[in-house]
Symmetry: D2
Subunit: 361 residues, 4 copies
C-alpha cells in the first residue's frame, strides 16, 4: 500500500506527475464545516512552481476543483475529493530515464519494485508534484485546526550554511505565525533571504543544487493529545513528514543536540503560569511520552539537495547492464526547501488533526 | 489507540511497568517457522537491566514465556503471545508522582489525557519497561529476516560528546554486525567504552544523566522494498523508532548533514558491481523515494538524557496548583543508550519485516 | 470513516449522487497488469440504468475515465483512480426530502448523523449510484482474479416469489458462469424472466416495488485462503456486500437452512477426486473456519424492495416536528435486484482479491 | 492477519484450544472506567461448558485474570489484557485429526493454509474456545454501552425446528432484555426449552447434532450511528458475528423475508412519538443506509449443527491420499446454540461500541 494516511480521517492521494490528474480523497471529515477555498488556494500557491528565481519555471495553475464532499461549499460528511489537472506536461524530457536512473532519485528502486512498469515520466507517483494534493489535504486540516485554536507555521531554518533565526520555542505565538505566513519569504529574519537566494542561484549557475532545513511550530494544542508507543505525536508527524520528498531527517525540540546535554540541562522545569502548567524551557519540543505537553510543538526536518542537477553524473544503463554517464535535461528547482515549507505545514496539520480526533473518542 | 503496529504483521503490546505482566501479541506470522528461543533470550538480555554499572539495579529476569502461537517451538499460524511477568516491583517509590509530575516525563500529559486515571507506578504504560515486549517482537522478526539474508545491527554512536566510529555505510557486512553483537560493548571501537563509562558514571555521581546517539544498519534488503509516500522505509522506521522512549530525532544516511551539501556532493553515483547496481557512496542511507536501493540502510536516532535524575528539580503540584520542588527517588539508568541498542534493532526489524511482507502480496 | 475497504488493496470510494463526479481510488494494485477497459465498460453497463423496462429511465453513460495509475493501459503501481461524471442530474426532484425523510431510506439517520448537512440530493453519498465506482473496482479485481483462474458470477435467485434455479453448488463451472454473463438476463433459467418482469411491472403499475435474492458463486479459489476469526471469507464478503444498498441478509452454503439440519446431514463428506480433496455436497458453501475449502464459494444476499415508491406514505416533517404525508416524485427502479447483480459480483471480487493477496505475504 | 477487530478500540485475540493460555488485548479503552468483574464472570459463565445436559462436559473455570490495563479495578488507558489459562486439556483425543480432517471443520483448509503446521489440537486457533476471550471483550464493551443506556440481549430463536417467540422488534425494552438474561434459559418463552432439550438429546443419542438460530436485539442506540458503505452497522456486526464459529448466515430486520415483500409492506412509516421520530414497524431492523434509526437493532444469526458428531463419517487421509472413514472421539456439544448466545451478544457489543466511538470523533 502506500499513499494513504490517518486513523480517524483517511487521506488517500492519487496521481503521477504526468497522469491526467492528481488528487486526494479525504474520508472522515465532519459535516457542516465551511471550507474557505480562497485560503486553500492561497496556501497551495505557496507550494506552486514558477513563482521566483529559485523555483522551476514549470507553471501549473494547481487549482484544485472539488469533485465531491461539499454542498454549497460546506462539508456534507461524504468523502471530500479534490482533483488537480496536470496541464503543463512535457513528457519528452524524461524519455531516457527508465534506462538510466537518476542518482538520488526513486527511479532505480521504483523500476525494480514495479518490474519496470513504474511511470517514470516526471518521477511518476514519486514526484514532488504529489505534494500538491498533500497540501490541499493539509490546508483543509489546518482550517479545521484553526477553528480549535491550533495554528501551524514553518519557516526556512537554513539553506545550505545560511541560517535564519530559530523559533522561540517557549513563546512562539499565533501573531508570529501569521506574520510569517504573510511575509515575503517564510523567514523569521527577512534579511537572510538575500544570502539564501545567492546561495541557491550560485549553485544553479554551477549546474548544482542545495538543501536545507525547515523548522515547524504548532501552537494551541492542549496537553494530553497523542497516543502511546507507535502513535505518539513524534511517530505520526514523522510518518507524515517523510512523505515529503527529499526529507532525510527529523528532530523534535532539542533533537540531536539533546544527546549532548546533561539531564539537568535538558529537563524542562514545570511551573504554573496562572492556572496553566508550562515549562520554562522547551527542549522537549512540546512532546513528552508521545503526548502533547501544552507547550509549542517544535521540530525540524532536513532536506537533501535537489537530486536533479544539470551537471553530468555517473549512473548505469539498466538495459545494457553497464556504467553510463547521465546528463539530466528538463526543469528543476535548484533548491526544494522554499516550496517545501507549506508541504511541511500540511503534513503536520494532517498528523495533528488525526490525533486530535483520536483523542476525542 | 496506541500500542499496535504493522500492516502485514500486527504487533499489539500490553502492560504497565507495575502491572501483573507485560507482553505482546504478534498476529500474522507465517506458520512453520522454528523460533530460536535461546537467541531470543540472549537478545532480550542485552536490554535487561542490572547488568553493569551504568544500568539500573532493578533486576528482572525478563524471561518471556509463550502463551500461544507455537506448537513444539514452531509457529502454527495463530497469533504468537509472549508474556513477561513483573516480578521485581517496588511501587512505593512512585507514590508522590501523580501529584508532582517529573520533568521531561510523560507524567503530566498522561495525567491530563487519562483524567488522572493513568497508572503512574513506574511510568505505567509509558515506561521504558515496555521495550521488553518490543524486543521480543523484534527478536522474532529478526530471525525471520535472517532467514532471508537480512541482518540488523546497531551500536552506540555517541554518549554525550564521546563518539564511536561510524559504520562504513557502503560496505558494512554481516560479519561486522555479528562481531558487533558478540562484542563486550555495542561499539565499533571497544576502546571508546572507557571514556563513555566514565562520562556516565561522572554524571551519575552528580545526580545527573546523559544521552547519546545510536546508529543502526540493516543489510541484505533487496532493492524496491517499501511503499510510496506514507509507508516508505523512512516513514515506517521512524514511526517504530519513536516508540522507544527518549528518542527525539532520527536521520537517514547523511541526514541533517545532507542539508549542507551540494547536490553534486550528496548524490550517490550508481555503478555496476558485477550484475548488481550499487552506489559508490551512501548518503541516501539505502533509501530512495522511500524504497530500498539495495545499499545498507543506515540511520541514527538521538536519545535525550534519562529524565529521572537524583538532583532536585522544579516542578508543580497538580493538586495544590502551585510550584513545588521534586526530588526523584528510586532506581534509574543514568544513561539509557546502552540498553536502548537492542530496542532500536528490534523496532527496525519490526518495521522492515512488515514492509518486506507488504512487498510480496 | 466509511467508504474505504481492504487490507492489501485499499478501495476508497467518493462522491454523491449529485456531486460533480463520483469515483474510486484503488491503492495497492500490482504494476504490470493490462486492464481490459472494454471488459470493464461491459461490466459496468450491466449496472447502468435505463436499459430495460424494470430500471429507472435516468440515463447515465457511467463511463469511467482513468485519472491516474495507468501508463499505456497498464498498471504502474501508483493508485488507480477512476472518475465518473454525474451528467444527468435533476436535483429539483429532491427538494423536500431533507424536511420529510423517505421511509426505508437513509435520509433520517443521515440527517441526524450529519446535523442536517448531509447531501440529500439523490440520497447523496448513500445513493445506489455509488455502486458505479464499486463496480469499477470490482471489475478490476475480477480481471486480476481471472488471471489466477478464479471466476465470480451471480444470478437473480428470486424476485419476490418468483424463483430461478439454484447453482449446482458442487459442480458450478467456469463455462456456466460465462454463459450466465452472456445470457440476456442473469438467470440460470431464462424462462423465469417473463414472470419476474411481470411481477416487477405489476408492482410498478401499483406505484409499488419488489425485492429479491441474488445468488453468487466464486470458483477456482484454492483451499486455505482467508484469515481466522474476523477476517474469514464470510466476514469479509459480508462486510463488502452490505455496502450494496438494500441488502438485509446474507447466507453462505446451506445458510439458514443449515440451522434445521442434523450434523450428519449438513456435514459435507471429504473424498479424493484424483489428487484433489473435494466434498460430495457443499452445504458449507466452500468455506470452513472462514477459510476456502477449494469447493465453490456460494452465498445468497437478500434485497429489500426499492424504498422509493410512488404510493403515498406516512412520514414526518423534521422541521415542523409533526407527522406528514409523503409522495415521492422522481425516477426509481421498481426493483433493484437486476442491476444489483454486477454489484454483488463486484463486492465479492474485491473481498476475495484482498484476501488472496493477504494469503501471500 | 486475523484475529484483530475494531477501528477505535482494537481487539486482538490470541490462543489455541490447547495452548498454555488464551486471551485478548483490548486497546483504546478510555481511562477511568470501573470494570464490574463479577458481571464479567457471570457473563462468561453463560458461555462456559459443562453446565447442562446439552453442553460438552469439558469443565473449564474460564476465569479471566487481568494482566494489564487496570489500576484498582479501573481502566488506566493502557491496553487491557485478559488471560484465561487452558487447564483441562486432553490432547490425546485429537492425535489422528491432522491426517484425517473432520468434515465441516477447519481442519482441512487450515492444514493447507499453514502447510501442516497448524495446531490441530482441539481445533487450535479455530476452536470455539476462542469465543471465551471474545466474550470477555464483549462483556467489557457491554458495560461501557450500558453506561450510555445501550443494552444488548439475545435469545435462542430456534433449535432445529423448535421455535421460540420472536422479539417484538418495535417495543423490545431494557426490562425484557434483563428478564431474558436472568431467565433459566435464554428464551422468551421458557416452555420451549423442554422440546428444544429433547431435540438436542435425541440427536446426541443418535451420535448426531443440531443447529439453530439466535436472535439479538440492541436498544438505546441513538439515530445516526454507523458509517456509510463498508462500515455500516450491518457490515460491522456481520464481520464480528461470523467470527463466532458455525455461523452461516445473518439477516437484519425482516431479512430474507423482505425479499418477498412489496415496498409498501416493507417500508416502515415514520411518526413522531412525543419529540422522537420512530417507525410503526421495524422491518429495517433499526438500520437504514447502514446507520442506526433509533429503533431497536434486530438481527438473526444461523448456526449450523455441531460438525463433530459421534457417527462415523467419510473423510480422507491427507497423508495416504485416499478416502478413509473417520470416527470422532472426544467431548463435543451436540448443539452449540445455547452457549453461543453470549457470544453473539459479545460480538455485537464490540461492533456497536466501536461504531459508537467512531461517531464521536
Amino acid at each position: 500500500m502506500s499513499s494513504a494516511f490517518g486513523n480517524c480521517i483517511k487521506i488517500s492521494i492519487f496521481g503521477q506527475s504526468h497522469s491526467e490528474s492528481i488528487g486526494v480523497v479525504i474520508d472522515g471529515l465532519k459535516a457542516g464545516f465551511k471550507l474557505d477555498m480562497d485560503a486553500i488556494s492561497a496556501f497551495m500557491k505557496r507550494r506552486a512552481p514558477g513563482q521566483n528565481a529559485v523555483s522551476t519555471p514549470r507553471a501549473e495553475a494547481d487549482e484544485p476543483h472539488i469533485a465531491s464532499g461539499l454542498v454549497d461549499g460546506v462539508t456534507c460528511g461524504a468523502p471530500l475529493c479534490a482533483i488537480i489537472n496536470n496541464t503543463n506536461v512535457r513528457s519528452k524530457d524524461y524519455s531516457k530515464l527508465k534506462e538510466v536512473p537518476r542518482p538520488a532519485h526513486s527511479d532505480f528502486p521504483a523500476f525494480v519494485k514495479h518490474s519496470g512498469f513504474n511511470d517514470i515520466r516526471g518521477g511518476g507517483h514519486f514526484s514532488a508534484r504529489l505534494t500538491a494534493p498533500l497540501c490541499f489535504a493539509g490546508a483543509v486540516c489546518m482550517q479545521l485546526l484553526q477553528e480549535e485554536g491550533i495554528y501551524i507555521g514553518a519557516h526556512i531554518s537554513s539553506i545550505k550554511d545560511v541560517h535564519d533565526l530559530p523559533f522561540d520555542s517557549v513563546s512562539v505565538s499565533k501573531a508570529e505565525l501569521e506574520k510569517l505566513k504573510n511575509a515575503p519569504m517564510p523567514l523569521l529574519n527577512q534579511e537572510t533571504w538575500a544570502l539564501m537566494e545567492k546561495t541557491v542561484l550560485d549553485a544553479k549557475a554551477q549546474g548544482d543544487s542545495v538543501g536545507g532545513i525547515i523548522e515547524c511550530a504548532c501552537i494551541g494544542l492542549k496537553p494530553g493529545i497523542g497516543e502511546p508507543m507507535f502513535d505518539g505525536i513524534e511517530n505520526r508527524i514523522s510518518q507524515a513528514i517523510f512523505a515529503v520528498p527529499a526529507v532525510k531527517g527529523i528532530e523534535f525540540g532539542a533533537g540531536f543536540k539533546a544527546a549532548e546535554l546533561f539531564g539537568s540541562e535538558n529537563n524542562d522545569s514545570f511551573y504554573f503560569d496562572g492556572g496553566t502548567v508550562k515549562t520554562r524551557t522547551n527542549n522537549h519540543g512540546g512532546i513528552l511520552g508521545g503526548l502533547s505537553s501544552g507547550m509549542p510543538i517544535i521540530f525540524r526536518a532536513a532536506f537533501k539537495p535537489t537530486p536533479s542537477i544539470a551537471k553530468e553524473q555517473d549512473s548505469v544503463s539498466l538495459t545494457a547492464k553497464k556504467n553510463e554517464k547521465l546528463k539530466i535535461e528538463g526543469r528543476h528547482d535548484p533548491c526544494v526547501v522554499l516550496r517545501a515549507v507549506p508541504c511541511v505545514e500540511a503534513a503536520t496539520a494532517i498528523a495533528i488533526y488525526d490525533l486530535l480526533l483520536e483523542s476525542r473518542r
